[in-house]
């Protein structure tokens, strides 16, 4: 039955949704879930939500380098431990 097939696709797509947005599925499953999402108006919003959520989470990544003073302290400690570089 087409409806039953569709529901099965929805269930497996939702089970694999986070693995899909994390690109952790096999290439075949990635393609299958992607195909389902493009065709299913019920599942697509879930994927869009997941992607927006992960994007927002990634935005929390601090954009900073190790401060010079910290770098200098680390190098000094390493030299004390025997590092022979200048």
């Amino acid at each position: 039955m087409p409806d039953q097939t569709h529901r099965t696709d929805c269930t497996s797509a939702m089970k694999e949704l986070w693995d899909y947005v994390d690109c952790e599925l096999t290439p075949d499953r990635m393609a299958a879930v992607k195909r389902h999402l493009t065709e299913c108006s019920h599942c697509l919003p879930h994927a869009e939500f997941a992607e927006r959520f992960l994007h927002a989470l990634h935005e929390t990544r601090i954009d900073c380098n190790c401060p010079y003073e910290v770098r200098a302290k680390v190098m000094a400690r390493l030299r004390e431990a025997g590092l022979t570089l200048s």
């Binding site: 939702m14 089970k15 694999e16 949704l17 986070w18 693995d19 994390d22 952790e24 019920h42 919003p45 879930h46 939500f49 997941a50 927006r52 959520f53 992960l54 927002a56 989470l57 990634h58 935005e59 929390t60 990544r61 601090i62 900073c64 380098n65 190790c66 401060p67 910290v70 770098r71 302290k73 680390v74 400690r77 390493l78 431990a81 025997g82 590092l83 022979t84 570089l85």
Partner: protein, 213 residues
Amino acid sequence: MDENQARPGAPDPSREGEGARVRRDAEFARDALPYMDDVYRFAYSLTRNTADAEDLVQETFLRAYKSWHTFQPGSDARRWLFTICRNAFLRSREKLRHEVDVEDGSAETIAAVQSQSEMRRDGSDEILSRVDLAPALTRALDELPEPFRSTVILVDVEDQSYDSASEVLGVPVGTVRSRLFRGRRQLQDKLREYARDAGFASAGTSAREHDDA
């Protein structure tokens, strides 16, 4: 690989000659030191405190230097440093590493989808596209219990694969996935509260009343 686990055939640093030591130091400088910015950022993500992050970076590189003879040439030095960094962080907090049982991943993903449905129905998902969520999510991340926080930071903030996070955390991939789902779900719950406080969610909307699943 754990930093204390010597690779087979690795030279004993205490018996190596001057030439070997100079070569080892040069390799350490070439393969490990360039990741100081990455380790600092990861340390800061874990501690959310500049003084603690500084201590953690120093501890990480000292341990890495002392264990450099155990590093497998050609493997991922950044991942190895992250492993040392997180282990040092846990030691510094005197927190025992407790493993989270791997639960039914399918049930967790379905639960996550239901939670998302509720957010979409009450309108709280609107906050994702209309507000800079970084400060709120950072606070929510800080409140996540270990080990969920480390897992979410590694995968969602530092872009590590499940395999890589599994190595850094020293747990199976299934556990990484389980922690990730639960951590994300807790973050979504916090986000939903934040959305309600910010007036995005429609009060009194019951997800069950409008279940379209």
